[in-house]
C-alpha cells in the first residue's frame, strides 16, 4: 500500500495546477478581506472569464495538434461585430444572428485551417496574418464605432441566470439541487472507473484516497453552488460552459477523433503512417477553433452589450496562457480540458483579485507573465525529474 505522500508525488503533475489555483484563491481571499469569495464576485468571475474558457477549449485542441492560433482575439471581435450588425443595423432576429455568427466563425476557421493543413504554411504565420485581417474586418464591419445595444434575449446569454423552479426566498434552490445531483454523478462515475480498473487488474488508488477525493469534490461543488445560490443562482453562461466542458472532455478522452489529435501532436509522421488523415484532422481543429472563437465573441459582445471596433484585442494572450498554464505542451500531444479550464481560472482569479486590490494594469501584466513562465517551468522541471 502506498503512502499518501507517495501518491501526492505521483499525482502532483496532474493536480499541481489545481493546487496552485487553490493557493492563489486563498491568497486573494485574505488579501482582499474576503471580497474574492463573495457570491456577487464569484458570479462576476465566471461571467468575466467565460469567453476565455470557451476559446481555451478550441485552443487546447489546436495546441495538442502541435500548432497555435494567434488570431482568436481578433476573430472573436470580428464575429461579435457581425452579430451586432445583423441584430442592430439590420434588425434581424437573435436566432439568425447566432447561427450566422457561428457559421462565420466556422468559415474563418476553415480559411485559416486550409492554409495550415493543406498548403502547409506554419500556423504561427497564418494566424498572425489572420490576426491582422480580422482586426481590420472588425473595424470595417463596425465602421469604427460601437454597435449596440442588443435585444434583451441576446444580453441574457451572458448576464442571465437560470430560473428557480422552487422559488426559494433567500436561496436559489434549483442551483442547490443541481449541485447535489452533480456531486452524486461525479462520485458515481469515479466509483465506476475504480471498479473497472479493479476488474482489469489495474492498480487502484487506496480507498481512503478515494473517500478523501470524493469529499473534496463534493465540498467544492456544494460550496460553489451555495455561493451562487445566495446571489442569483447559476448564470446561463455557466450552463453552456458546463456542457462544452463535458463535451470536449469526452472528445479528448473518449472519442476516436480526440485520440487521433493527440497522436498527431505526439508524432505526426507515425500518426500518418497509421492511417490517420492528419491534414483533414488539422483542418477540423481549426474549424472548431473558429466556431468557439465565434461563440466567445458573441458572449463577450453580449456582456458589454455592444460590439466595439477594438473588441478582442489581446484576448488571444489570455487564452493561450490559460492552455499552457493548464499543462499543455508547446510541442503538441499533451494537454487536458480540465487543465485548460483550471488555467483559465488561474488567469481569471489573478485578473479579478489584482483589480480588487487596485494593482495597476502595468503590474498586472508583469505578474501574469511571470506566472505563465513559472507554470511552464514547473511543468518542464517535473517532467525532467520523473520522465
Amino acid at each position: 500500500m502506498k503512502t499518501l505522500s507517495n501518491l501526492f508525488k505521483e499525482n502532483v503533475r496532474e493536480y499541481g495546477m489545481l493546487i496552485a489555483l487553490i493557493v492563489i484563491m486563498v491568497y486573494f481571499q485574505f488579501a482582499t478581506d474576503g471580497t474574492l469569495m463573495k457570491p456577487v464576485n464569484i458570479t462576476n468571475l465566471v461571467l468575466q472569464n467565460s469567453y476565455i474558457i470557451i476559446m481555451a477549449l478550441g485552443m487546447l485542441l489546436v495546441i495538442i495538434a502541435g500548432w497555435i492560433d494567434l488570431s482568436v482575439g481578433s476573430v472573436a471581435g470580428f464575429i461579435g461585430a457581425v452579430a451586432a450588425v445583423i441584430m442592430v443595423r439590420y434588425h434581424q432576429s437573435v436566432g439568425l444572428a447566432f447561427v450566422v455568427s457561428l457559421l462565420a466563425g466556422a468559415l474563418v476557421g476553415a480559411f485559416q485551417g486550409y492554409w495550415v493543413a493543406y498548403v502547409k504554411i506554419p500556423a504561427f504565420i497564418v494566424t498572425l496574418a489572420g490576426m491582422l485581417i480580422f482586426k481590420g474586418l472588425n473595424l470595417a464591419v463596425t465602421k469604427g464605432e460601437s454597435v449596440g445595444p442588443f435585444p434583451e434575449t441576446f444580453q441574457k446569454l451572458s448576464s442571465g441566470f437560470i430560473p428557480d423552479y422552487f422559488h426559494g426566498e433567500t436561496l436559489h434552490i434549483t442551483t442547490l439541487v443541481i449541485g447535489v445531483l452533480l456531486s452524486i454523478l461525479l462520485v458515481y462515475l469515479d466509483l465506476q472507473a475504480r471498479n473497472n480498473q479493479r476488474k482489469y487488474n489495474f492498480e487502484v488508488t487506496p480507498f481512503s484516497f478515494f473517500i478523501i477525493k470524493s469529499i473534496a469534490i463534493t465540498a467544492v461543488i456544494m460550496g460553489f453552488c451555495y455561493l451562487m445560490a445566495s446571489y442569483k443562482g447559476l448564470p446561463n453562461i455557466l450552463v453552456i460552459l458546463f456542457i462544452l466542458i463535458v463535451f470536449y472532455t469526452y472528445v479528448t478522452e473518449r472519442m476516436v477523433i480526440g485520440r487521433r489529435i493527440y497522436a498527431m501532436g505526439g508524432n505526426e509522421k507515425a500518426a500518418k503512417l497509421s492511417g490517420v488523415n492528419t491534414a483533414r484532422l488539422l483542418f477540423y481543429s481549426f474549424v472548431n477553433m473558429g466556431i468557439l472563437a465565434g461563440l466567445g465573441g458573441l458572449v463577450f459582445a453580449a456582456r458589454l452589450n455592444s460590439a466595439t471596433p477594438k473588441a478582442g484585442a489581446g484576448m488571444e494572450l489570455d487564452v493561450i496562457a490559460a492552455v499552457y498554464i493548464g499543462g499543455a505542451s508547446a510541442s503538441g500531444g499533451i494537454g487536458t480540458v480540465i487543465g485548460a479550464v483550471v488555467g483559465a481560472f488561474v488567469i481569471g482569479v489573478m485578473n479579478n483579485g489584482m483589480s480588487i486590490l487596485g494593482i495597476g494594469v502595468e503590474w498586472q501584466q508583469v505578474i501574469k507573465g511571470m506566472v505563465l513562465l513559472l507554470a511552464v517551468f514547473f511543468d518542464i522541471y517535473s517532467k525532467n525529474k520523473n520522465p
Binding site: A263, A270, K272, L273
Partner: protein
C-alpha cells in the same frame, strides 16, 4: 619501411544491450588509401565515430595512436585539430550558404569577429582548384548536384589541413562519372601525402584505388589484405565479409505456401523532390499466402522507398503501376485505403515513424484501428485495456502495464509494440522494414518467432533487411534490389550470401 600514421588497438564499444565493436584493431600506413569493408552493422561507422571523437574518449575502451602519439579525443573539433577529418554519408553542408561560406564554416577567416571575405574567397578558389571543381565560390550549395557537393566537402576538409581523410560511402549517391572523378581525386590527394580511409560497398571501386583492405564483421576485425602483395578478387573480399555461422540464430519453420495474395505490377516511383529522379523502376513483385518474401539490398538501394510507395503512397511522386489482392485490382492510393485493404507497414525507424513515444503502449497499439474498440463513436476503454493487454502478454512486451509510456521501453519491446499495432489492424499482407534493427539477439529471436507464427496463420509477409543472414534464415523467397530495380530473384533454398552479394555488386540482371 612501414610508417604507420594511425593505429587503433583493441577498441571495444558497447551500446545498451549490444556490443558494437569487440576488440577491433586497425593500422593505417602513411600515404595509402585504406579501404574498410563489411556488411551493414559490421561496425565500420561506429569505428570511425570512435576515431573522430563522435564517441568521446572514455565511452569506449582501447587505444588510438595518431602520428605515434596516443590520442583521447573529446569531440570532433578535437580530432580535427590534429588533422583527422570525417566526411559522412549524409553531407553536412548548409544548403542556402555559398561554397565559400560552407568551406570556412566554424573555421572562418576572420579578425576580431569580422569575416575577411577577400581571404575567404581567394582561399576557396585555391581549394576548389585542388579538388578540380570549376564553380564560383559564391555558388549556393542548393544549386549544385550531389557529386559537386561531395567535392566541396573534400575542399572543406583540405581547408582544415587534413592529414587523415575518412570518407563514409562517398560514392553511394553519385553516378558513375562523378564516382570516377572522386576516385581520381583521392589518388591525387594521396600523391600530395594525404592518407585516406575509404568506407565503401562498391567492391569494384575498392579494387581500383585501395592499397590495403580491412574487413570487419560483427564488430570484429577479420583480416587486413595487402593489395600490392596478393591479387585480391571481389570474391575473396565477399568471403571475408559474410562467412559466419548461421545455426541456431533462427527458429525452425515449416512453410505452407498457398496462392499469390498480393502482387504489384509495373510499379514506378519518382523522388518526391527531385523531379526526374526515379527511385523505383519497373518493379514486379508478389507474395503468396503463408510466405515470407525477403527484399535484400544495401542501404540506399530503394527498398524502403518502394514499400512505402506501395503502402498508400506514403513516399514518392508520380507513382504508376497496379496492385492486386487475390487477383483483383485494389485501390491503395492513400494510407487509410491501404490499411482497409489489409496491408500493414512496420517502419524501419520506429522512433521517428512508428511510435508516439509520449503516449502509452495501449494508445500506440490501437491507433491504426480505433474503430475496432469503439461503440459507435466512443472508445470503449475496458475493451481497449483487454485487447492491448492481450497483445502485451502474447508478444511478451516487457513493461509494467499497457499504461507504460513507450519512450521508456527497450528497442526490442518498442518493436513489439509496433508489431502489435499492425497485428491489431489485422492485415493480410504485412511489410516489415528492418524489424530487428538495433535490437539484441534474444529479442531478434522472438521477432523471428512472431514472423513465423504470422506466416503459419496464412499471412503474406514482405521482409526488408540489410542483414543477409537474417534474410536467408527467415525468408522463403528473396528479391534482390539495387538502385531502385529488382536485380534478382531466388528461392532461399538456392540462395547464399555470396550469391546475393554478387547480384548487388555486379548490379546486372541475371535470369535464373
Amino acid at each position: 619501411m612501414s610508417d604507420v600514421i594511425l593505429e587503433m588497438r583493441n577498441i571495444t564499444k558497447t551500446f545498451p544491450g549490444v556490443k558494437a565493436l569487440d576488440n577491433v584493431s586497425l593500422r593505417v600506413e602513411r600515404g595509402e588509401i585504406h579501404a574498410l569493408v563489411g556488411e551493414n552493422g559490421a561496425g565500420k561507422s561506429t569505428l570511425m565515430k570512435v576515431l573522430s571523437g563522435v564517441y568521446p574518449h572514455g565511452s569506449y575502451s582501447g587505444e588510438i595512436y595518431f602520428e605515434g602519439k596516443e590520442c583521447s579525443f573529446k569531440d570532433i573539433t578535437h580530432s580535427e585539430e590534429v588533422g583527422i577529418v570525417i566526411i559522412h554519408q549524409e553531407l553536412a553542408l548548409i544548403p542556402f550558404l555559398s561554397i565559400a561560406e560552407n568551406i570556412f564554416l566554424g573555421n572562418e577567416r576572420q579578425k576580431n569577429g569580422v569575416i575577411s571575405w577577400f581571404e575567404t574567397i581567394s582561399n576557396t578558389q585555391e581549394l576548389l582548384k585542388k579538388v578540380g571543381l570549376h564553380e564560383s565560390p559564391n555558388t549556393l550549395i542548393t544549386n549544385m548536384g550531389v557529386g559537386k557537393q561531395q567535392l566541396v566537402e573534400i575542399a572543406k576538409a583540405l581547408a582544415k589541413k587534413v592529414r587523415l581523410l575518412i570518407l563514409d560511402e562517398p560514392t553511394a549517391s553519385l553516378n558513375d562519372a562523378d564516382s570516377e572523378a572522386l576516385l581520381k581525386l583521392l589518388i591525387q590527394l594521396k600523391e600530395q601525402g594525404i592518407t585516406s580511409i575509404l568506407i565503401s560497398h562498391k567492391l569494384n571501386e575498392i579494387s581500383k584505388v585501395a592499397d590495403s583492405i580491412t574487413i570487419l564483421r560483427d564488430g570484429a576485425t577479420i583480416e587486413t589484405l595487402d593489395c600490392h602483395k596478393d591479387r585480391i578478387t571481389e570474391d575473396r573480399i565477399i568471403r571475408g565479409m559474410v562467412g559466419r555461422d548461421l545455426t541456431h540464430r533462427f527458429p525452425p519453420r515449416e512453410s505452407k505456401i498457398g496462392e499469390v495474395i498480393f502482387e504489384v505490377r509495373d510499379w514506378n516511383v519518382y523522388h518526391p523532390l527531385h523531379e526526374n529522379r526515379k527511385v523505383s523502376t519497373d518493379i514486379n513483385i508478389n507474395v503468396r499466402k503463408g510466405e515470407v518474401v525477403g527484399i535484400a539490398g544495401l542501404m540506399g538501394s530503394g527498398r524502403t522507398e518502394l514499400v512505402m510507395s506501395i503502402f498508400g503512397r506514403a513516399y514518392g511522386r508520380n507513382i504508376s503501376g497496379k496492385a492486386f489482392k487475390h487477383g483483383k485490382e485494389i485501390d491503395i492510393s492513400s494510407i487509410d485505403k491501404a490499411i482497409k485493404n489489409g496491408i500493414a507497414y512496420a517502419t524501419e525507424d520506429r522512433k521517428a515513424y512508428g511510435l508516439i513515444l509520449i503516449e502509452d503502449i495501449k494508445a500506440n497499439i490501437t491507433i491504426a484501428n480505433l474503430e475496432a474498440i469503439t461503440d459507435g463513436v466512443m472508445i470503449n476503454r475496458p475493451k481497449e485495456l483487454t485487447v492491448t493487454s492481450d497483445y502485451r502478454n502474447k508478444l511478451n512486451i516487457k513493461s509494467s502495464s499497457v499504461l507504460q509510456k513507450t519512450v521508456n521501453l527497450s528497442g526490442g519491446n518498442q518493436q513489439k509494440v509496433v508489431l502489435s499495432k499492425w497485428l491489431f489492424a489485422n492485415p493480410e499482407i504485412l511489410i516489415l522494414d528492418e524489424p530487428t534493427r538495433g535490437i539484441d539477439v534474444g529479442a531478434k529471436y522472438e521477432i523471428y518467432t512472431i514472423v513465423n507464427q504470422l506466416a503459419s496463420e496464412g499471412k503474406g509477409i514482405i521482409l526488408i533487411s540489410s542483414e543477409l543472414p537474417e534474410i536467408l534464415g527467415v525468408c522463403d523467397r528473396i528479391y534482390v534490389m539495387s538502385e531502385g530495380r529488382i536485380v534478382g530473384e531466388m528461392m532461399s533454398s538456392e540462395a547464399s550470401q555470396e550469391k546475393i552479394m554478387k547480384y548487388i555488386m555486379t548490379q546486372q540482371e541475371v535470369v535464373e
